[in-house]
């Protein structure tokens, strides 16, 4: 049977894109929430 390296790289490439994309999304969400939690709440303004 042919080696079909193209299929192998497509599968691994897809996995890297999906998992990397999800990880980046989590990092962005975490940064935004941390920034928001440090911001003073509007009700507490003098």
């Amino acid at each position: 049977m042919k080696d079909n390296w193209g299929f192998v790289f497509a599968a691994y490439g897809f996995a890297v894109i999906v998992l990397g994309g999800y990880w980046r999304r989590l990092m962005r969400l975490e940064r935004e929430l941390q920034k928001a939690s440090r911001r003073p709440r509007s009700g507490r303004r003098p």
């Binding site: 049977m1 192998v8 897809f14 996995a15 999906v18 998992l19 999800y22 989590l26 975490e30």
Partner: protein, 207 residues
């Protein structure tokens, strides 16, 4: 990251070229650890959903929501890598075989679970409904796993996690084990991060 790199290195450097399928069989080291990680994630959804219904503590719900989200991603990886593997070996990207169909049902069920979490705004109600669905959805996992034994299927029977000793070589089992450990560690890392984000969100937007 080190475990993932070790897994990749072993997949392409140490694992032997399979006799009948050739190098395309290397997709096995991505496909099977992905589905086992999804099983792990959905088992956590099951346990934490029960935990929420018993205690009504929202911390259980945060674990369930996070595990379901990541489990759904690993199920998508399973389906897509399986389709990519199927084309050169079976001659088709997709067939309505018992294993493929039950996995597609598993995937859509957890997509529905995530949709439910996204549309119900009231926090306690969302947790309660999601917990019930999280328990029901997990019942599909044994059907997915044993479908290839219960029905005549194009998909091969389980290579690992079978009552009989595994009929694969030691090197293949070792490379598979390293990849599975790497995926499980990645899952734990992503889950911890997802739960932390949910806790921060709950603190900022209570209710």
């Amino acid at each position: 990251v080190a475990a993932l790199l070790a897994g990749l290195g072993m997949t392409f450097g140490i694992a032997p070229r399979e006799v009948t399928q050739g190098n395309v069989q290397r997709i096995f080291y991505l496909h099977v650890p992905s589905v086992l990680t999804a099983y792990l994630a959905f088992s956590i959804v099951f346990v934490t959903s029960l935990g929420y219904l018993v205690t009504r503590n929202l911390a259980w719900d945060r674990w369930a929501g996070g595990a379901a989200e990541i489990g759904t991603i690993f199920t998508a990886l399973t389906v897509i890598s399986g389709a990519i593997w199927g084309k050169p070996t079976w001659g088709t990207w997709w067939t309505w075989d018992a294993r493929l169909t039950s996995t597609a049902i598993l995937f859509t069920t957890y997509l529905g679970y995530l949709l439910l979490r996204a549309v119900v705004e009231e926090r306690e109600r969302r947790a309660r409904l999601a917990a019930v669905l999280g328990i029901i959805a997990a019942l599909n996992m044994p059907i997915v796993h044993f479908s290839v034994l219960w029905w005549r299927a194009l998909h091969q029977p389980p290579t690992l996690l079978t009552p009989a000793p595994a009929a694969v070589s030691g090197v293949i089992t070792l490379v598979f084990a390293v990849n599975f450990v790497a995926f499980a560690l990645l899952f734990v890392y992503l889950l911890a991060k997802r739960v932390r984000i949910s806790r921060l969100a709950d603190e900022l937007l209570p209710g």
